[in-house]
Symmetry: C2
Subunit: 547 residues, 2 copies
């Protein structure tokens, strides 16, 4: 059967091809970086290429070996892009440390990853000092923006010049690791995944397609999403693959600084979490005419759900908000809320309701959702189950953390922890996190749906619905309600309000009034605290005034 073998070249999918392409095809394309002092530095792609190559050779000269982790603790800028390409070109794994985590966590993560070399922005040295002693033997390279390089650390500019031409870059297989990220670790230890050259290349190819991020040589891209967070959603790789101009904001992520860069550098594509865009919207609203030139800007929004009203208002301003969903374990792109033409024709309300969903899977991401018995559910727009994903840029395990093997199904799908419905055209709607969904008598009730409905009652300021143990139904919902000043509410009144939308068995069994819903530092409900507070709840004993 040898004569039926495909006759295609065995050409590996590595980031090195993209690095070479930067110099060969787009040598004079620009990379603009805003420095800590707010001045802009301008580099060309050819310059980034040359310096990334120097960095790779210098790393090898410094003695790192294949697969060794080289970490970065850095804002978004050109030198970080050099690390994105130079570290993998040396055969190493670039480990981006998330500077938003606690110093304790960052130290744990750097030690767990066994980072051999850490490349740090000088402006981040005060943070670095808080955890560097927790990391085993390592070298520190400081990217100098004006600050002094402390004793015992090396200057990045001098370090890359230690490279010599006799150092040969290693052959890279497409399955070799190129980068790693840790999840933020809201539950349990932070856990890391190692991306391969192949996974990153495929993620870039699909990321660039029109219905995902849609990146072109004609674009000017400003990633607000940090390069230390989930590969900045793959934008640095996908964007350089197509030769886009880049504008990196450095540490300046306030609305005024971003809007100034958008306007002066003629940014056409951006991406960031909803809070960034809420801030930008508030600034624009103060003087919409001033920002008229932003019409045509597209931006990806992810990390958490963007409010539909915000998506709609941006659209009125001529700015397209592309709602995307993914996870660090997914490189991160999973779904994008593109609206199919036949749905877009159904009017604004339908259109924006789809724009605010999680969207449908990108090519080469498989989705399914299963109930608590492991049954695969129909895509009927109503059956709720945990979303599971599969694909070439999705993790198959955590790095050195076998304890979390239960995050994968027996047949190898990654369990996202998100409770979703899927409709008959593949649109995903997240209804809950799996830890918050109420598992009642084999059926699931969305705590988020109940909360939204309860908060729609005029007497209610805020509400969290939690699952508590029930001897007969396993779990039942308890509604924890913050009333508006001077208002009152009975369970009978609330039931009447909810019965428009919910079946009787889905209603909270009891309600309890509290002063406020406990929240995390980013404003998310801390339901775990509520569950702990009410863990001994006696159903039906009318304790609502007892708190």
């Amino acid at each position: 059967m040898a004569d039926t073998v495909a006759t295609m070249m065995d050409y590996p999918l590595t980031l090195n091809h993209l690095l070479t392409r930067m110099k060969e095809v787009y040598p004079i394309q620009e990379v603009v970086s805003q420095r800590p002092d707010k001045s802009n530095t301008r580099q060309t792609y050819a310059n980034i290429h040359d310096r990334a190559q120097k960095l790779a050779r210098a790393l090898l000269k410094a003695g790192v070996g294949k697969g060794d982790r080289v970490a970065t603790l850095a804002w978004n800028h050109g030198s970080h892009l050099e690390c994105y390409y130079g570290i993998p070109a040396a055969g190493c794994v670039m480990h981006t440390l998330n500077l938003r985590l606690s110093p304790t966590d960052i130290g744990y993560i750097a030690a767990h990853a066994d980072d051999k070399i850490i490349i740090v922005d000088d402006v981040l040295l005060p943070l670095y000092d808080q955890f560097k002693d927790n990391i085993p033997a390592h070298r520190t390279i400081v990217i100098p923006f004006g600050g002094r390089v402390p004793d015992g650390m090396e200057n990045y500019e001098e370090f890359i010049e230690t490279c010599t031409d006799d150092i040969v870059l290693p052959e890279i297989a497409e399955t070799d690791g190129c980068a790693m990220c840790y999840t933020s670790g809201t539950t349990g230890d932070p856990k890391g995944v190692i991306y391969s050259h192949r996974s990153m290349v495929l993620h870039s190819m699909i990321g660039a397609t029109p219905d995902v991020l849609g990146l072109s040589n004609t674009d000017c891209v400003l990633p607000v999403v940090p390069m230390f967070h989930a590969n900045a959603w793959g934008i640095p790789y996908a964007g350089t693959m197509v030769g886009a101009k880049f504008v990196f904001p450095g540490p300046h992520l306030d609305p005024e600084s971003l809007l100034t860069q958008f306007m002066t550098e003629k940014v056409s594509f951006s991406g960031g979490v909803p809070t960034v865009w809420l801030g930008i919207l508030q600034t624009i609203e103060k003087d919409p005419a001033k920002y008229e030139a932003l019409r045509g800007l597209r931006t990806a929004v992810g990390g958490s759900a963007a409010p539909p009203a915000v998506i709609r208002r941006f659209q009125e301003l001529g700015i397209t908000v592309l709602h995307a969903w993914g996870m660090t374990e997914m490189s991160p792109l999973g779904t994008v809320a593109q609206v199919k033409p036949h749905l877009a024709e159904k009017g604004d309300d339908v259109y924006f309701s789809y724009r605010a969903r999680q969207g449908y899977a990108t090519p080469f991401v498989d989705l399914r959702h299963r109930d608590s018995d492991g049954q695969i559910l129909p895509w009927d727009g109503k059956s709720m189950g945990e979303l599971e994903v599969r694909g070439p840029w999705i993790a198959s395990s955590y790095h050195n953390y076998p304890e979390a093997a239960d995050r994968w199904s027996n047949d190898g799908w990654f369990r996202t922890g998100d409770i979703v419905t899927m409709d008959d055209e593949g649109y995903v709607q997240i209804t809950d996190r799996s830890k918050d969904v109420i598992k009642s008598g084999g059926e699931w009730i969305s705590s988020v749906d109940l909360e939204n409905a309860i908060m729609g009652h005029p007497a209610v300021a805020e509400a969290a619905v939690i699952a508590l143990y029930h001897p007969k139904w396993d779990e039942r919902p308890l509604a924890c309600i913050v009333l508006k000043d001077g208002e009152a509410l009975t369970k009978t009144e609330l039931d009447a309000h909810l019965l428009d939308e919910f079946a009787k068995w889905q209603l909270p069994d009891d309600i309890v009034f509290i002063d406020e819903v406990p929240k995390t530092s980013t404003g998310k409900f801390q339901k775990l605290a509520l569950r702990k507070q009410f863990e001994d709840w006696q159903w039906g004993k009318d304790q609502r005034m007892a708190i």
Copy 2:
């Protein structure tokens, strides 16, 4: 080092994912096919999926094995798309027979490929009858558009219903073959290449990106380029991956039929050879107002160079012509003539000069050009050498044809046979075919450049420049000129005309007047015939009037 291994899933890149995606994500998207009687048939993606699955199971039931070739002899239509997915889903290699070749060649090709089953449009049976007896034992399945299915052949509609649910589709590895095409064989035997699932998937991913074909779910795609020619440039796979609406023209490739479909089905993307677009342009010019709705249409043009004036005129009409270059051995996409923003700013003349080039490489296509000594040439915009290519969707050999191993360099690059210059931003300009370039004293002279310049002389109707043996310089150019009626030209006059553009050593040594340049059926110069006619040329003996 096990702990440094990437933790990504081992997920194969196969067409089966795209087939499943058609039903899961885009079930109600439309596929319109124009039948031989000019009526339109409408299918959904879900229907195409189901029928492709049936075809796959029916093929397995019919006894084909992994890697067996199943051929098609068919126009562009929905059932051909079913073959594009169904044949590979059975683990077979879809072999698209080029119905434009001579019956002798098609018979040779089908026999060389060892096609086990041939799926034929009923309207193509008269052609099929001319070569079917030259193919060893095989089964014939006829796609019925109204004609009778001859004895000894099977009806496609009945054949796919022979599938049974107990037939399990095979596991596919991404390196398995999925399709094959033969080159037209202008020199020597037709030669085939076998694409792998992996190569086709990667080609689709890059093909869909904005700067290559730029395909989206919002597009309506009409591929004029035949599905029997170089995978219709990958449009069927890339387009279904993103969920585009398809309109297949069947056998109706005349300008009026195409324009009617463009208008009524609201086509947004098309692709075909220059002659198709010349015909369409002529029809539009008769009544441009009638075709105003075509503004916004984009079309890929390849196969041979499109005249710059045509590209420009289409742009005035609001139709973007995307000049692309590739080869059957390259799946076929290699370069696309996108104009970088900084070049587009330099005014229309620069802009359109770039639009008319071959363009720069798509991601994951490597280019280089080498001189006759094998030296890699600089990308300086003037050094001429043979273009060589490398990449994951480029052939590494021909199928069962070791005699042509010299088409690959010792280090594994495919030698395209095109003589090119490369500029410092990667733009390719084809200056000649390697068999036509004049290799004079170690330097190369472009026959095409000389021809274009000579045809710019007012006395000349047509000219072909050929390389002939020269005892001192190895080869020297002979200009074969067709004069306009009543005109005359001396070598001295011609030299004076050419010296504006060429160095003295590049000028033709002699000129000869002929009645016409011999041409192929597609209008290309048959220089081989001229070289044969003048092979005993005595340089400098002034034989110009002797013909």
